[in-house]
């Protein structure tokens, strides 16, 4: 090139607006003020505005109405819904670490199992009240999560997936081994009297189904809300940054190792919570029942099908993995449901990698834009000072095109 004159110094100090780099074919930006990229009308909602609150209130009404309606269904249906909620909670946990932090875990069956066995053992062996076992299950699963996340200090990608796989595989082995506590391979049965709804609810032992329905629904909503907040918080930014580019995340001040370990911990805690509820719902546990690798695969399938790193994905995915095997006519987890899971998993990756919730999200975002209240108004109606200058050599282009 040869060293040309230092052409850049003689810029008048601070006078000009920031140099706008000609950035090539920037497509017309989606203006958040009502026009979609394709020019279609978009509903613009400013966060925190009255319209936004109205939409939120509408959502709450819809959710409550749907739940009320669902609770009126036949007992076995209500049981299925409860199962969906519990699986959904487990997937919300998985989503944090796999979806938002980008660490594929195929060992979440272990967290689910740890939560389940914590509650099972405490209730069956020590006569604890079911609800009081929840914090214990959560704390233990959190600790296991930290432990599983610990290798992520040094291990990445595939290697970490392998560690989680091994954890998932070891769990039933250890349960079988710890026979005195867990009942070993024979399983653990919790007397249904111990699982009756608390007295203050006024519900009898026979109404355990409806009780668990509401408990699971409430916990699911709580967990979804927490997860949404978390993902949007500073910590969540760190998780997503770690997923997308570790080195850049570290350079931006994200403590990558700490973020991964904690994400694993929180994720494990939430999935463990689901396990705890599962014991209250099902009443009988066995190491080869719901805590094998197949459970992990079921959770991953649900997550991928529902939509990785989406808000509603876990619920949609849970509904799918609970109802899908039934559609194929096999109620249990026989070989056919394994084939179905395998086929569904692969198909989804091919035809709809963003999942059902992801697809819905795209559809909604084309029609509704929620604009943060603090966003500066775009150039169009801002004071002229902030209007970007035209690209410095746009004239050049025109001249050459005219030739």
């Amino acid at each position: 090139m040869g060293v040309q004159e230092p052409t850049v110094v003689d810029d008048p100090p601070r006078a000009a607006p920031p140099g706008r780099m000609p950035s090539g074919p920037v497509a017309a930006p989606g203006s958040p003020r009502g026009r979609g990229r394709s020019g279609r009308e978009r509903l613009t909602v400013i966060e925190g505005s009255r319209r936004h609150w109205a939409l939120r209130a509408l959502a709450v009404v819809v959710v409550v109405a749907v739940l009320l309606q669902a609770s009126q269904a036949q007992a076995f249906r209500v049981g299925q819904f409860t199962n969906v909620f519990i699986i959904a909670i487990a997937i919300v946990g998985l989503n944090l670490v796999t979806g938002h932090t980008g660490l594929l875990s195929i060992g979440h069956s272990a967290f689910f199992g740890l939560g389940a066995y914590t509650t099972g053992v405490l209730v069956a062996r020590y006569d604890a009240a079911p609800m009081t076992t929840i914090p214990v299950a959560v704390v233990l699963s959190f600790a296991l999560g930290l432990l599983v996340g610990l290798p992520s200090l040094r291990i990445k990608g595939l290697y970490l997936a392998l560690v989680t796989l091994a954890v998932g595989v070891s769990f039933p082995e250890i349960i079988r081994r710890a026979e005195e506590l867990t009942g070993g391979a024979a399983g653990l049965v919790v007397r249904s009297a111990s699982l009756a709804p608390p007295a203050w609810t006024g519900l009898g032992r026979a109404q355990r189904g409806i009780w668990m329905f509401w408990v699971s629904a409430a916990v699911l909503l709580l967990v979804m809300w927490l997860s949404r907040n978390l993902v949007r918080s500073r910590f969540g930014l760190g998780m997503r940054a770690t997923r997308d580019h570790e080195i850049a995340a570290a350079a931006s001040g994200v403590r990558v190792a700490r973020t991964k370990i904690l994400a694993f911990g929180v994720s494990g805690a939430i999935t463990g919570l689901a396990g705890s509820l599962f014991t209250m719902y099902i009443g009988a546990l066995s190491p080869d029942g719901s805590f094998t690798l197949l459970k992990s695969i079921e959770l991953v399938t649900g997550l991928v099908l529902g939509g990785i790193a989406t808000q509603l994905g876990p619920l949609i995915g849970a509904a799918a993995v609970v109802f899908l095997p039934q559609l194929t006519g096999s109620l249990s987890t026989g070989p056919l449901s394994g084939v179905v899971f395998g086929v569904v998993l692969i198909t989804i990756v091919f035809v709809m990698p963003e999942g059902i919730a992801g697809r819905i999200g795209l559809w909604v975002r084309r029609r509704v834009a929620v604009v943060p209240a603090d966003r500066p108004r775009p150039a169009g109606d801002a004071p002229p000072a902030s209007t970007p200058a035209p690209p410095p050599h746009s004239n050049t282009h025109n001249r050459w095109e005219d030739q």
Partner: protein, 282 residues
């Protein structure tokens, strides 16, 4: 993992540690000092007693042939490599004792040679990540949406919007970074780096892949931001127009040694630099 807090609140808080800058130009009083930095890889000396200084608010250009040790030096400062001997001090902080993620908290931010952005995240969120080190919102308060935590986060959000506006990125704020044009992404990186209100900006070949006029715009952008925000910068770059145009001070390396240090106007007449780096066209 160190449990100590190196970060302070955004401006409204009462920063107790000396780490993060709480105001802009006034706080830029630290210098980066390298003394006798030496590093060897399996017997090969990649850096041989390199010493120089980046003074507060100044731009220091670092040039040299490929393999001269510029990237190695950069990696020493950004804590990817550990020098065999020597000292890197940032004000009164011994940089070699910090972990990589703590650099941002200490007021040092960087951009990357080949772009390192968070592709699936929006431009706005990319910028927000840059503010990680100056926010103290924890996991629990974040998950619960605690109002004080929200207020603290709001300060950062305002700063991010301001920077996006300043760097002409408002139009693409909601778009995922992946898929935006190269020149735009370079500015996103700059916005992210500036979010932590750095006192020292490490720029790794920012002109790579830009045309002359784009480079010129980038140069004026960097200097005007420097005048406004008061950071110092270490600029590794082959584009001599940019280096000589915006640097206050230039250091040239060859075979791991400093072969020149001085003002930009002297570089092109220096026989060592011409022989080792610039070649005939100088």
């Amino acid at each position: 993992m160190s449990a100590t807090t190196r970060s302070t609140d955004p401006p409204e808080g009462h920063g107790t540690t000396a780490a993060a800058p709480t105001s802009t130009a006034a706080a830029g009083d630290r210098a980066l000092r390298l003394r006798d930095v030496t590093i060897t890889f399996g017997g090969v000396t990649a850096l041989d007693a390199v010493s120089f200084e980046v003074r507060p608010g100044r731009i220091c250009g670092l040039i040299g042939p490929n393999g001269a040790g510029k990237t190695t030096l950069f990696n020493c400062i950004t804590r990817i490599y550990v020098p065999s001997s020597g000292e890197i001090r940032w004000g009164d902080i011994d940089l070699l004792r910090l972990r990589p993620h703590a650099l941002a908290g200490a007021g040092i931010a960087r951009t990357f040679q080949n772009l390192a952005l968070f592709g699936a995240m929006s431009v706005f969120d990319n910028a927000m990540v840059g503010g990680t080190s100056v926010s103290r919102v924890g996991l629990t308060s974040g998950a619960l949406g605690w109002p004080p935590a929200r207020r603290r986060q709001q300060v950062l959000r305002d700063r991010a919007w301001h920077l996006l506006d300043r760097l002409d990125l408002l139009d693409v704020a909601e778009r995922p970074a992946a898929g935006l044009p190269f020149g735009t992404l370079k500015r996103v990186e700059l916005a992210r780096a500036l979010m932590s209100q750095p006192q020292l900006l490490l720029l790794d070949e920012p002109a790579g892949g830009l045309t002359h006029s784009e480079v010129k715009d980038l140069g004026s952008l960097i200097t005007s931001l420097r005048d406004e925000l008061g950071f110092a910068a270490l600029l590794v770059e082959h584009h001599m127009g940019l280096v000589l145009g915006i640097s206050d001070h230039v250091v040239a390396l060859d075979f791991g040694r400093t072969i020149f240090e001085g003002s930009p106007s002297e570089v092109r007449d220096n026989p060592d630099v011409v022989r080792a780096y610039l070649g005939r066209a100088a």
